[in-house]
């Protein structure tokens, strides 16, 4: 079978052929038995496919969709709440972090100790500061 005629035949089911192509196909159909059989088979195949359509889910489908929507709305609402919390607290957290860095920097420069205590502003404790001489006398006795 001529490939061009076969393509025209398939095309004729789904689009409008121009008058020249239409005439060519009609002529071929009247002359070629094989092409006529092909047309019959494709017509039957297309009808069978159309009849194979399944048009519904299980009963109460709409109820299940509505339930699904209700539960997904609840999830969305809780997600939105946490998102808004995050948006609200983010500037506060950033400001607090900047303040902590500034205070730690100030403490380090004023105490002159590059340590955690220095950053927290805790004065350095020496042995003399904690040693009580009176307590030492009592111990010697």
């Amino acid at each position: 079978m001529d490939k061009k005629l076969r393509d025209l035949l398939y095309c004729s089911f789904d689009s409008d052929l121009n008058p020249e192509e239409k005439k060519m196909l009609e002529q071929a159909l009247s002359q070629t038995k094989e092409l006529r059989q092909e047309k019959e088979i494709i017509t039957s195949l297309r009808d069978d496919i159309k009849r194979s359509k399944t048009t519904s889910f299980q009963p109460y489908f709409a109820d299940r969709v509505m339930e699904n929507i209700r539960s997904s709305i609840q999830i969305d609402e809780s997600e939105q709440f946490f998102e808004s919390l995050f948006v609200f607290f983010r500037p506060i957290a950033i400001t607090a972090a900047i303040l902590i860095i500034i205070i730690a920097g100030y403490n380090i420069t004023t105490t002159g100790h590059f340590s955690i205590e220095g950053a927290l502003g805790i004065p350095e404790v020496t042995v003399n500061d904690v040693y009580d001489p009176t307590l030492a006398l009592v111990t010697e006795e």
């Binding site: 689009s15 297309r46 299940r64």
Partner: protein, 182 residues
């Protein structure tokens, strides 16, 4: 009620109208999904997801296309995702990716159902891009132009895919077609 009125009601929070919309388009959506992936438990899940997505997008839906066409596009895309997911899973576990089963139908007619099952199975043998044109054009009944718009491909591509898909289906179904034609 036309699409514009439905949308207005939906945007005003009229859930009864949405329920009517589900009942109106359930047939179209189920035909598309079952045509693409077969009658299985995932088909209904995808069907639900189609309507949930439309509900969530109702405020952004501009109405450039009809609601039915928009729902069909979502259904096709979700079905294609499911086919990809099955294909990945079958590659991992060496399972067949055709995981369909019949859900009991009380109004079943054995001969018709057998034929239907054979045809549906043959359609599922096609590659997804050929399957989608067959489902949209022949099962859903969209025109070639509408099918091209839904799949976002040129009309020429739809026509050539349709021709190739029909040739392939003819091969697969030749015993049945020969029986019908003597």
């Amino acid at each position: 009620m036309d699409d514009a009125q439905i949308l207005t009601e939906l945007r005003n929070g009229n859930d009864a109208v949405f329920r009517d919309l589900i009942n109106r388009y359930e047939g179209l959506v189920s035909a598309t999904i079952i045509g693409m992936i077969g009658k299985c438990s995932e088909a209904e899940d995808i069907g639900q997801e189609v309507f949930v997505r439309f509900y969530k997008a109702r405020h952004n839906f501009r109405g450039d296309s009809a609601i039915g066409t928009y729902l069909t596009r979502i259904a096709i895309n979700l079905s294609l995702n499911e086919i990809k997911r099955r294909s990945r899973r079958s590659q991992l576990f060496f399972h067949s990716d055709d995981e369909t089963f019949d859900v009991e139908d009380k109004n079943s007619n054995t001969d018709t159902d057998e034929n239907r099952e054979v045809i549906q199975h043959a359609i599922r043998e096609l590659a997804p891009k050929f399957r989608s044109v067959i489902v949209l054009r022949l099962i859903d009944g969209y025109s070639t132009e509408e099918t091209a718009k839904i799949l976002r491909v040129p009309i020429g591509t739809v026509l050539s895919r349709l021709a190739r898909a029909q040739k392939k289906l003819k091969e697969i179904l030749s015993p049945m077609l020969e029986l019908n034609h003597g």
